[in-house]
């Protein structure tokens, strides 16, 4: 008995030891973080050392030098603050943020896109910048972009780098269709005409249409009534617009496909489509995927729909309300997005700034003739009118998804236009709470 008992005990011990050993080697690196955040918990007084955790999305190692300098500058001006910069890939940042907040490890300053910032803001998870910022500080940003993350009088985010759509054309296909790239389409209507001609003469698709809900807004067809209480898209005007697109699909002017970013690259790179509306990072994708197509790529100002708007795609900086160093975090968020720092970032990343002052820099108006340069200058001119796509309600994501799904049903699944719009209308009304 005792012999057997010993064996069993040793068996248990072995397994415990294994766990223990591995735990020891595993926890070594986590130790410093614990002490770092414990050392400066709530209510840090002036002079006390504070660590601000700053998260960005997919910027390392490309911009390591920029951030190292930015952080060094800030730390020099604010000796009591230490910035702990972390960068995570796009695929992980949302999951990582959720789990960290759940675990009480929320970062202090975070880089988020507009949709996420609004989603989190409406759940009271973000610090209200309208409270924290002076009127002067707020005025530094383009009002359209800043207000894209404002709801019920609260400002959830500070805009950071942004991008505006440009119309990219495949010069060969356009010229083959007998069109003059020097005189590009200015409206959606002209774009459709160009598309038709390209389809007829070359067999390629005219342009890429994403079928998203936001396309309605670009045509001045609102989703919701002005008081945001009810759906407003079940109208003859929307029907007419949708039918117009159905005809374009039928004629092969636009591809009958769910278009995401990768698909857009594929269609353009394989020269299956002649024109594509996108922002400057698209250039880089085509350049590395299809250098031969890059050579014949042209950038022109993007045509506008009836609403005359061009939606920007902005990356913002937010401060989660779970932060324990609100003052320092807000201060650093302002610093990252200030005119000087935005200008510098735009120059190295070839993006557009969201601050009025930096956009005045000749960098955004001087055209060096390269594709990147043209794309930059033709898009920068509409910065002052720019705003991000945004539906000003709490359940924006639900509403957006419902409308997008309904549009997919119509465009791709051949569903009846009127019936589908009516169903979607009642679904949206239900989401909005009537």
């Amino acid at each position: 008995m005792s012999f057997k008992g010993k064996r069993l005990i040793s068996l248990l011990l072995t397994s415990m030891l294994m766990v223990g050993l591995l735990a020891a080697c595993g926890s070594g690196s986590s130790g410093n973080k614990e002490t770092a955040s414990n050392g400066n918990s709530d209510g840090a007084k002036a002079g006390e050392q504070v660590t601000v955790e700053f998260w960005t999305i997919s910027l390392q190692p490309t911009f390591n030098d920029y951030f190292d300098k930015l952080i060094a500058d800030y730390e020099a001006q604010n000796p009591n603050v230490k910035i702990d910069w972390k960068d995570y890939p796009y695929d992980a940042v949302l999951n990582k943020l959720m789990t960290n907040i759940a675990g009480g490890d929320a970062p202090d300053v975070v880089n988020l896109n507009t949709e996420l910032a609004n989603q989190m803001g409406t759940k009271d998870a973000l610090v209200d910048f309208n409270q924290e910022l002076t009127a002067d500080q707020k005025a530094a940003y383009f009002p359209g972009i800043y207000s894209s993350t404002e709801m019920n009088g609260k400002g959830f985010a500070l805009p950071w780098y942004t991008g505006l759509p440009v119309l990219f054309m495949n010069k060969d296909l356009v010229e083959k269709a007998g069109l003059d790239p020097e005189n590009p389409p200015k409206t959606k209507q002209e774009l459709n005409e160009w598309g038709r001609q390209i389809k007829e003469k070359t067999g390629a698709y005219g342009y890429i249409f994403t079928m998203e809900a936001r396309t309605l807004l670009e045509e001045n067809l609102p989703f919701l009534t002005e008081d945001y209480k009810k759906a407003a898209f079940n109208t003859p005007e929307v029907e007419e617009y949708v039918n117009e697109n159905l005809q374009l699909l039928k004629d092969g002017v636009i591809p009958k496909d769910i278009i995401n970013y990768d698909k857009q690259v594929q269609y353009f790179a394989s020269e299956q489509v002649a024109m594509s509306l996108s922002s400057s990072p698209f250039i880089n994708k085509i350049k590395t995927a299809a250098p031969d197509v890059y050579e014949k790529m042209l950038a022109v100002p993007s045509p506008v729909g009836k609403a005359g708007i061009r939606y920007s795609n902005t990356m913002n900086i937010v401060v989660p309300s779970a932060t324990s160093h609100k003052k320092e975090a807000v201060d650093f968020a302002v610093f990252v997005t200030n005119a000087a720092n935005q200008l510098e970032f735009s120059k190295i990343a070839n993006t557009l700034p969201s601050t009025v002052e930096s956009a005045k820099d000749p960098f955004f108006s001087e055209n060096d003739g390269t594709l990147e340069g043209v794309a930059k200058t033709v898009s920068a001119v509409s910065l002052d009118k720019a705003e991000d796509f945004y539906i000003g309600v709490e359940s924006a994501k639900d509403v957006n998804q419902t409308v997008t799904k309904a549009l997919q049903e119509i465009y791709l699944n051949g569903a009846d236009v009127k019936k589908t719009l009516t169903t979607a209308e009642s679904d949206v009304n239900k989401i909005l709470g009537n």
């Binding site: 012999f3 057997k4 064996r7 069993l8 040793s10 068996l11 397994s15 294994m18 591995l22 735990a23 080697c25 595993g26 926890s27 070594g28 690196s29 986590s30 973080k33 999305i57 997919s58 910027l59 390392q60 190692p61 490309t62 911009f63 972390k86 960068d87 995570y88 890939p89 796009y90 695929d91 992980a92 999951n95 990582k96 959720m98 789990t99 960290n100 759940a102 675990g103 490890d105 594929q266 790179a269 394989s270 990072p281 880089n284 994708k285 590395t288 995927a289 299809a290 250098p291 031969d292 197509v293 990343a349």
Partner: protein, 276 residues
Amino acid sequence: MRKKPLRVLKLIALYAALILFAIFMMGPFLWILSVSLMPGKNVFSSPPAIFPTFIDFDNYVQVWNYMDFPRYLMNTVIIALMGVVMNIFFSCLTAYPLAVFRFKGRDLIFALLVATMIIPAAAGMVVNYLTVKALGLMGGFLAVVLPSAVTVFNVFLMRQAFMGMPHELRDSGKVDGASEFRIWLQLSLPIVKPAIAVIGLLEFMGMWNSFLWPMIVLNDTKQYPIASALSFLNGQFSYNFGWIAAGTVISVIPIIVVFLCTQKYYMEGVSGAVKG
């Protein structure tokens, strides 16, 4: 006399079938490989380039310089080995009594275990994060490995393997006065070696490819395994198609090598494991 040409024909037909099917199965991988070897060539040319028309290692050199591959590969190897060792150890221990002992509640435990294989835990990632944090493991490799240090699938597999073990073995061990632990270690484990090999290989591959969970629990990107690190190449500023392709090939090669090397053992393994 007449048989020979027929046999040659048959052989040709067999090879033709094998090769056609190989292209169908390997197509996407060959395409990635070709893309990675042909910088400056349109990736989306039609038809897809399954075989490269020229070879240039530029993409490999550049991506190797851009990312710290040796470090990420080393991290992956450590994580994968930890996962393999823990899975083998814990699932062999857990499965053994489920297969050979008779005690109350045995079938209930087994049924419960199998049931969990189909239940989707919606907030599983969040809850596991909280658990890992409560255990004080956050930020270490153990946090990556521990949640999958023993899986129901492996316990199931090992149970089947132990069930195929002859009963007389345990009896004879007992007759010799050996303890249950000694019987397990010295008599039973050698018999299920093939099944252990299967777990080892499958876990190795699983750990090698996992990318989201490591990013959730690791705070320092320097600790990332290769699959997680590769997702940095998909950012809007670092995007380079050739680099992604080259990085993918680099990360798959070790698995293919492991697979080729263990093929014989692996096959014996699965047969031993399922036979039960």
